[in-house]
Symmetry: C2
Subunit: 238 residues, 2 copies
Amino acid sequence: MKRNLEVVLSPALLPFYEIKNKTVVVIDILRASSSICVAFNTGVKKIIPVSTPEECRIFKDFDFLCAAERNAMKVEGFNLGNSPFEYQNPLLKERSIAFTTTNGTRAIKLSKEMNAAQIVIGAFLNLEYLCNWLKKQEHSVVLLCAGWKNMFSTEDTLFAGAVVENVKTTFDIDCDSSMMAEQFYIQSKINLEQIVRQSSHARRLKSLNVSDEDLKFCLQLNQFQLIPVMKGEYLEKM
Amino acid sequence: MKRNLEVVLSPALLPFYEIKNKTVVVIDILRASSSICVAFNTGVKKIIPVSTPEECRIFKDFDFLCAAERNAMKVEGFNLGNSPFEYQNPLLKERSIAFTTTNGTRAIKLSKEMNAAQIVIGAFLNLEYLCNWLKKQEHSVVLLCAGWKNMFSTEDTLFAGAVVENVKTTFDIDCDSSMMAEQFYIQSKINLEQIVRQSSHARRLKSLNVSDEDLKFCLQLNQFQLIPVMKGEYLEKM
């Protein structure tokens, strides 16, 4: 029997899906997904996603680096924010990180609460490697767009569409959001940067003086041969 | 100051938006929105949207016709279901209808609970008339896709995109869902029937032997010069 693939456009819609026994791909292109991939490429050992900056801070006592982003900005007093470039620092090698962001870590924790069989992180940076793995693993798949405060997000949906385009012959795909996401990606991929630059989150980052290099970096395809995967409470590299 | 326009892709996302002082356009193309437009064109006096078939049945005692659809089928024992053709019957003239459907009436009632300034019904059948009115009325606008059991729906989103395309110079539009919906519509409108026929709800209707004529009927543009509008507890013709 062919496995099923669905696209969920917001964490607020996840409760209307059954995700037990499924693999959930959490997508937060700008920038949590991308930064997590960079971190593991740099050699970070594990990342614990936590809900709040307060909770995050506690891990300092256990030799974790602490990363906290709220409303697209690094929270004051933390080691790291949410820019992928921060996670290229070689000093991060073999370190563990406690990580909280506005949307991405919430989507991970919700998937865990709803008993997903597996939770992995998807980004343009690991697109092809992720797609090859999705085809080989045994579960049906839910692509979960982290969005922005439960609202639909262009860049996350485009990435979901890129996955659909890649894996569609392996899966039964019959939800409207998957078909829309694929068409949206196919029509946008020639000028992906330009389309994403028009998105509300790209404009939000710009208004906060976040470098445009972050956006460009996060839209690079297939830079890493790795998949961040939840093992118990931690993300590890697969 | 320019008014704002947003597209909400599911009733489950409406709580993340502020709709006080806004006009909400409820969209349930297959088929509640379309049938309601047909009813008023036929001469129906008023329609009361109710939550459940049980509640709907009570109105029989007050000389209402009772219409109930669940899971795309007419509920047994009711006068009417959700096919637009049923609402062309001249015997409906001057009658009042109590109406409950799987998605559409819920979206109307939620908008009312969240204190929208105005609630109107949008369908391809009244697209242009609705758009002209939206431009003239004074409020910011939320286009609310009724979807299917809180999931994203192709046909409702395409209609939202058609409205965005028509009114975009009048409104500030900067949410990602509006931009996606417009692009989705622009790329789909040449073969709208074919795209909607691939949607999960069209396939659901087909599997239940609902006539394909319903779908074709609901995708006709600009047949009616009317807008169903909530006045207190009732929908009336504007």
